[in-house]
């Protein structure tokens, strides 16, 4: 075992106490780097150590931890992301949410791998991080400001242009809309920490934004990381052609062809091909895209800007595939210009387009079935495109019915008559992303067991679209678990998932292992690397088990997914009945070394070298 930290790490954790303004620096233990790698692993450890199991997401004892990976600011491709860790106001469990742009690389150069915000500021503030530490600054005049506006204003105040990298809250986060996101506007691409309510947590701390100015630290890989990265370039560029040309919106048409793209709050899963075409990547590219945008150190450039003159939208971030699901197909709205307008507004207000869209679609179905009426809101009809814009504004301000939407679909269902829960689409309090929980078996078990509930970045759909584990339960629980290791590892490297899956592989393999060894000088085997991902996933599970939000009862799927087969199209008849889920859970728990209730056994905790952190979690 090595007892020095490889020089690819900056080596420090910065704790910022918002109530006192004090900061302190902690050294990263070399053994922790080996065990938790960075990013996702590091923020999970911070949450485990600092947030009591009975603290609510909006309690000052919750933390918001931001971290980068060991290879940020090295030639390893697209380690351009940062990760936020916190207890989520949606799931009441551990959540990690990643974002791209330029801020994470700037943070790396400060020498701080992790910044942890503790407590609550007395006044509206923003936190400025640089290589000497952090300052808590007054956010005078920024109350109610939109995300991009806030980024711009803080850049202006700091006076070094885009060298101040800002991740900002919008009105939604200030008003603690439970799924409020944080938005980073860099010089070259927007980045959104979209899911789980990081904006709401930051808002509860009276912090409007986190700003970072880079420093002098240069990570030193132990070996030839540049050459190894160059070797992957050919494959990366060949396998990400769709993303390069169309962004993630390119997925609309092919997934609709498969009959696995939810419509009308998941009542069906296939749109008329002409409707899908109207909101597709092909249409966006032909008629609205003005330029490509990119995160730092990325050749794929999946980001795009779009303009819509009729809506007064200029150079807005293109709606991502998941957002098109949430704000278009689930709503039966195929007016792309209004959809672009609604998405731009969500980005400005700081609303997660997935949770918000699924919640609106849920409310629309509840109205259709008589559980809500027009007095609740005049905008609860499927197909109402104008209503989207109005509802987004009201949600961010928590005005009228927007206040109910701001709670998310699960809490909204609880406030309605019994039976409303039949129309939910999510797990553990978080709405599902676009990848069908009925039409992809790997997503059925993957979502049910996800740390984050409805996240498509725990188990990934990518291999399933290629025909692996989409239609069979055979080997699928093990597949879902191993992909969860893969994503925990990737989010600890803080490498962009699109680049990693396209260029380096969709599972943990020799290539990732070589790269990690070249960066750190360690001599890990593929199994060792897999174990890092497994360890992090188990740590997340331990946090959630201690909070009573992760057990067999919680590892479930919504009524529609377990009881209503897809009604037509190529995937007709597909669903995941309760007995099928139960059988998959048995296999999954056995594979993981968890007990029948879905908790890691002591043997598993010890095998994964987690005993000390497990003790901290249960304290």
């Amino acid at each position: 075992m090595s007892d020095t930290l490889p020089p690819v790490y900056g080596g420090k954790i910065l704790h910022v106490h918002l109530d006192t303004g004090e900061t302190e620096t902690e050294a990263i233990a070399p053994e922790d780097a080996r065990r938790f790698l960075g990013g996702n692993g590091f923020v999970a450890k911070q949450v485990a150590e600092h947030v009591p199991a009975d603290a609510d997401a909006f309690d000052p004892e919750n933390v918001l931890a931001m971290a980068v990976g060991p290879m940020n600011a090295t030639p390893f491709q697209s380690t351009s992301r940062g990760v936020l860790g916190f207890i989520s106001p949606m799931t009441d469990g551990f959540f990690d949410s990643t974002f791209g742009g330029t801020l994470p690389q700037a943070l790396k150069t400060t020498g701080f791998e992790v910044v942890v915000l503790h407590g609550r500021a007395d006044e509206d503030s923003y936190v400025l991080v640089h290589e000497d530490g952090a300052e808590i600054k007054p956010a005078d005049g920024l109350a109610g400001a939109e995300t991009y506006e806030t980024c711009q204003e803080i850049r202006d105040r700091e006076g070094v242009g885009y060298d101040t990298h800002v991740l900002a809250n919008g009105p939604a986060g200030e008003n603690q809309v439970r799924y409020a996101c944080l938005v980073h506007e860099s010089e070259i691409r927007e980045g959104v920490a979209g899911r789980g309510g990081s904006g709401a947590v930051l808002g509860s701390k009276n912090v409007k934004a986190i700003a970072v100015q880079g420093g002098e630290f240069e990570p030193e890989p132990a070996g030839g990381l540049r050459g190894r990265s160059v070797q992957q370039m050919g494959r990366l560029m060949a396998d990400t052609e769709m993303l390069q040309e169309y962004g993630t919106a390119g997925l609309v048409n092919p997934i609709n062809e498969m009959g696995k793209l939810g419509q009308r709050n998941m009542q069906t899963e296939r749109a008329d091909p002409d409707d899908a075409e109207a909101i597709s990547g092909e249409t966006l590219r032909d008629e609205y895209v003005t330029e490509d945008t990119t995160c730092a150190n990325c050749a794929v450039k999946c980001g795009k800007h779009v303009s819509v003159e009729s809506e007064g939208v200029t150079e807005a971030k293109i709606p991502e595939f998941e957002s098109l699901f949430g704000t278009a197909t689930l709503q039966e709205v195929y007016d792309i210009e209004r959809v672009i307008k609604a998405n731009d507004l969500c980005d400005r207000l700081g609303l997660d387009t997935i949770s918000w869209g699924v919640t609106v679609a849920f409310a629309r179905e509840c109205r259709e079935r008589g559980l809500l009426d027009d007095n609740d809101s005049p905008h609860l009809s499927f197909g109402d495109a104008d209503g989207l814009v109005e509802l987004a504004r009201k949600t961010a301000r928590r005005e009228d019915f927007g206040d109910d939407l701001a709670e998310g679909s699960f809490r909204l269902a609880e406030s309605l008559e019994e039976g409303a829960e039949r129309y939910l689409y999510g797990a553990k309090g978080l709405e599902f992303a676009a990848h069908s929980a009925r039409g992809l078996k790997g997503m059925s078990i993957g979502y049910a067991t996800a740390t984050r509930g409805g996240s498509h970045h725990d188990t990934r759909p990518t291999m399933q679209y290629d025909g692996h584990h989409d239609e069979t339960t055979e080997g699928t629980p093990e597949f879902a678990a191993r992909i969860q290791h893969f994503t925990a590892l990737g989010d600890s490297l803080t490498q962009c998932r699109f680049v990693s899956e396209g260029g380096w592989g969709t599972e943990i393999n020799e290539s990732y292992t070589e790269a990690i060894n070249l960066a750190t000088g360690w001599e890990l085997s593929v199994e060792d690397v897999e174990r890092i991902g497994e360890r992090i996933y188990n740590l997340e599970r331990l946090i959630n088990a201690a909070r009573d939000v992760a057990d067999r009862d919680a590892d479930t799927l919504p009524h529609r997914v377990m009881n209503e087969p897809i009604s037509d199209g190529p995937a007709e008849g597909m669903y995941c009945p309760p007995e099928e889920l139960d059988a998959m859970l048995d296999t999954y728990y056995r594979f993981r070394g968890w007990n029948d209730n879905g908790h890691p056994t002591m043997d598993t905790v010890e095998r994964l070298d987690l005993a000390d952190v497990a003790a901290a979690v249960s304290e």
């Binding site: 052609e241 169309y246 390119g250 048409n253 498969m258 092909e282 999946c302 595939f321 290629d466």
Partner: protein, 93 residues
């Protein structure tokens, strides 16, 4: 028999249209349809079929919405009225 070919993303760009209908002899397979498309669209030559006659690595083919990997891959037989969707693989999201 007649089959509808549906093109997406960069494949559509090369072909220059969204869909086309093509007549094939009874017993024709996915391979025949891909080879026919490669012949008619020189830009796609070598991009739809791999050297071993299988579906090329950078291409996903769906017969009536189901990935042909669930049938017999390029050997999958086509039937009158089928639709064949040809797209770069689904990545990202």
């Amino acid at each position: 028999m007649e089959v509808e070919l549906r093109f997406f993303a960069t494949v559509r760009e090369a072909v220059g249209k969204r869909t086309t209908r093509r007549a094939f002899d009874p017993g024709a397979t996915v391979r025949d349809a891909l080879a026919d498309t490669e012949t008619r669209v020189p830009e796609l030559e070598g991009r739809l079929l791999a050297d071993d006659g299988g579906v090329a690595r950078g291409i996903t083919v769906m017969r009536n919405g189901t990935n042909v990997t669930h049938y017999d891959g390029a050997d999958t037989e086509l039937a009158d009225g089928d639709s064949l969707s040809i797209t770069p693989p689904v990545t990202g999201g």
